[in-house]
Amino acid sequence: MSSTKQTQSLEEVTIRFAGDSGDGMQLTGTQFTNTTALLGNDLSTFPDYPAEIRAPQGTLFGVSGFQIHFGSTEIHTPGDQCDVLVAMNAAALKVNLNTLIDGGAIIVNTDGFSDKNLKLAGYAQSPLRDGSLDKYRLYEVDITKLTSLALQDLNLSSKLVDRSKNFFALGMMFWMYNRPIEPTVDWIYEKFKNKPDIKEANTRVLKAGWNYGETTEIFKVRYEVGPAKLTPGKYRNITGNQATAWGLMAAAKKAKLELFLGTYPITPASDILHELSIYKSFGVKTFQAEDEIAGITSAIGAAFGGALATTTTSGPGVALKSEAMGLAVMVELPVVIVNVQRGGPSTGLPTKTEQADLLQAVYGRNGEAPIPVVAAATPGDCFYAAVEASRIALKYMTPVILLTDGYLANGSEPWLIPSMSALPDIGVPFRTEKEGFLPYLRDEKTLSRPWAIPGTPGLEHRIGGLEKAHLTGNISYDPKNHEFMVRLRDEKIERIAHDIPDAVVEGAASGDLLVVGWGGTYGAIKSAVTKVQSRGLKVSQMHLKHLNPMPKNVETVFKSFKHILVPELNLGQLLKILRSKYLVPAVGLDKIQGLPFRSVEIEAKIEELLKGGK
């Protein structure tokens, strides 16, 4: 399709789609994202949805949003603020207006501003009429009516007609940002191939939305966002949860082991289970257990049997698994424990993101129970973090915690597709030699014990959660042996520091300020640091992927900077660890709103520190 209107070129844009949780905003956002990715833009997304599956229509707490930031430049975050807000009703406008930049565009579905809608959203009068939106560019479109007009000859139920209206909004946005509708049409055809009514309705409405942009007078300009200069190669769009699932599968393949997932559904981790349960032909075994505890203990049983065993959960689930994690430490079996962090404590904010489980991961068990901790930095990085967590687990015969979070899990980015041959091989030396076998014999270098799986003749042995005698693994209450074993298990984990890459300093190797982060805040910190660097400030970034043990160079890096800032979505958990471990006067920047950082928040803190600190 071609257009006759004026086109303006932009470097980057942030759009937020917002509507009722039943309005299909996540689908709309995902379709816009996929098409945008295909055009070669760099992008980052942020689905922001309520815990309720179908909250009462038109209410503030039922608003579901999807934000996408895309551009012809490098994109690290879903955007601090949006340039365009698509609001399907009054509540969606009210909840999201504070995310819109001054002068930004609002496209509203006027049908969603009835007296009832206004009342539910808490508006005394219509914001469309009272001048409160004067500083924005307001576009009023009766999307509901236009949708039903487009479908009037099809004789569809009003429910079905109503459900198609998100495609009208999508069509308009495709037109406005010069994106083709064909990928979405293909998707509709595939998705609804057995439901001709819906297939026809959605396709028609999508086209109607596009044509509406093209032919009506209300939109004077459309925009062009050229492809980004990314590293050459083949790309796909990927979410964090999908990347985690594929990373685990890739690790199993590299280790020549079967992947076993023992898990219990929990938001926002369930999509890893959904994803892995598809791949039966890869020999992946998914076991949806009766609870979180059975999730991890079944995984431990599978690990005893020689599988690459994993369990996936979120914070409350980790709390339930912690006794079993101690068991895995004691029996020294490899298990990858994935924690897709969400707002806590308790049930907390199931669909919102937070980084408040770091101390739980590093310290949260009874007894001295050291466990390596790996954290992913971006959605695509979840793949590599999962491979790395598996590698450490198998090589050191230990449970490993992989931390991601709700923001990474549901967010997506263009991802340079790796080749399996480029990933490191993961050696798994199952013990088969009978001569000299002892269950708690140690590899001199790694200190790991032999993995002797049932089915191996002559290596029959018993393991368990009671303290083990060194080498034999027999039960031992000997005081000296206990201290020896506690120190040995600790040393085993500490030694992993020799087997992980140095932490990377992005920017100059020394300077006035080092911003240290971990996990899903990478993009926001990267944006902030890049901006202040361009203004000449001597600021660098170091993002930790290994949190226990930490890379060996961390201490040296700290010595090269005058100040250390640690932004976190918690009350300063990494900060506490760094201060106690390295005795550095680092300062924190904490945000605990269930939302990711805006890069401007970090930028402001950097400026404040450098002004006050100089």
């Binding site: 295909l38 890869f282 049983g301 005893f304 599988a307 799986i453 049932p454 089915g455 042995h461 393991i463």
Partner: protein, 350 residues
């Protein structure tokens, strides 16, 4: 798929199984139960049955939770896993699903299996994973020194219930049946022959086997089952249920169980009003009957049923999973990771 586990199994396939004796299943560890504990008999009968199963030691795994009974795996010269409280059934589930080639046994107690592990227990049974569960029921917490357990009789005076317990006890056999178990049996620590028969049948059953073993704790609950195990009383207090046989009991074999509607009642075979032909004949493949028999358990007017309540076939979880995997591979071929990574919408940046 060629995995490292398969490589080991292929090598191990040439293993020539020796003619085992019960001693071959005895590990080098000192047995540390209290002298006189019923566990000794269960260990001995298990070690006696093992050589008859035709399964090599290295293919056998004993998994346990926490409690006196859970020390069991240390004493078996097989693979063993002493887990955490209540979770043996979950550990065993993961092991068996990952490794259907293994013979997996769970040893648990009335506290471990019915209380803290009650949830995993019922879910194992409904899934019908081929795991053999031996529940040592002594109606007391032994390892923590004498609190009442979920199978203790109501009103039991213990350290934690000085005025008598308020809890009504679980009937493990009925609980197992309620959870759709496919094999449910009860036997006694003081009847070695019967126990060996039951253990053998449990081992041969394809699917989850649940065996409740009445086990005397001579320190904290001595004599809990003497009524059913001691010479003077057992014949009048216990009825052996055997497939295809009428339910007869009593020292003189002079009484029987007759069904009055769905209600079992005791009838005399001597009073001239009933003969053995009137008696209930056990059918271990009848699920409805199994409930009726298990329900006799705590009824004072009825003898305690012992034997195999139910033995029926249902596909196991791990077989169904293997079938799904094989079906997927037959349809789509062995999964290719590179293909997967490159699937769907992709684009090239040059």
């Amino acid at each position: 798929m060629s995995t490292r586990v398969n490589e080991i199994l292929t090598t191990a396939a040439s293993f020539e199984m020796p003619k085992y004796s019960s001693k071959d299943f005895s590990s080098d560890q000192d047995v540390r139960w209290c002298p006189g504990c019923g566990d000794y008999s269960i260990l001995a009968q298990t070690q006696r049955v093992m050589p008859e199963l035709g399964i090599p030691r290295h293919k056998t795994v004993f998994v346990s939770g926490i409690g006196c009974s859970s020390r069991f795996p240390y004493y078996m010269e097989t693979y063993g896993f002493h887990g955490i409280h209540g979770r043996a059934t979950a550990i065993a589930s993961g092991l068996k699903v990952a490794r259907p080639d293994l013979s997996v046994w769970v040893v648990t107690g009335d506290g471990d299996g019915m209380s803290i592990g009650g949830n995993h227990f019922i879910h194992l049974l409904r899934r019908n994973i081929d795991v053999k569960v031996l529940l040592f029921n002594n109606q007391i917490y032994g390892l923590t020194k004498g609190q009442y357990s979920p199978t203790s009789e109501q009103g039991k005076v213990t350290k934690s219930t000085p005025q008598g317990s308020l809890d009504y006890p679980f009937n493990p056999a009925a609980l197992a049946l309620g959870a759709s178990a496919t094999f449910v049996a009860r036997t006694l620590d003081r009847d070695p022959k019967h126990m060996q028969m039951v253990l053998k049948r449990a081992a041969e059953h394809k699917g989850t086997s649940f065996v409740e073993l009445y086990q005397n704790c001579n320190v904290f609950n001595d004599g809990a089952f003497f009524q059913f195990t001691e010479k003077d009383t057992k014949d009048d207090s216990l009825v052996l249920i055997e497939h295809g046989k009428p339910l007869v009991f009593g020292k003189e074999k002079d009484r029987g169980i007759k069904l009055d509607g769905f209600t079992p009642t005791v009838v005399s075979l001597k009073d001239g009003q009933h003969s053995v032909n009137d008696l209930l004949v056990h059918n271990e493949r009848d699920t409805t009957l199994s409930f009726i028999l298990a329900d006799m358990t705590y009824k004072a007017s009825l003898p305690r049923p012992v034997g195999i309540f139910l033995s029926v076939e249902r596909p196991t979880y791990e077989d169904l999973m293997t079938a799904q995997i094989e079906h997927a591979r037959a349809k789509r071929g062995e999964g290719d990771m590179d293909k997967l990574l490159n699937s769907g919408d992709t684009w090239v940046i040059s």
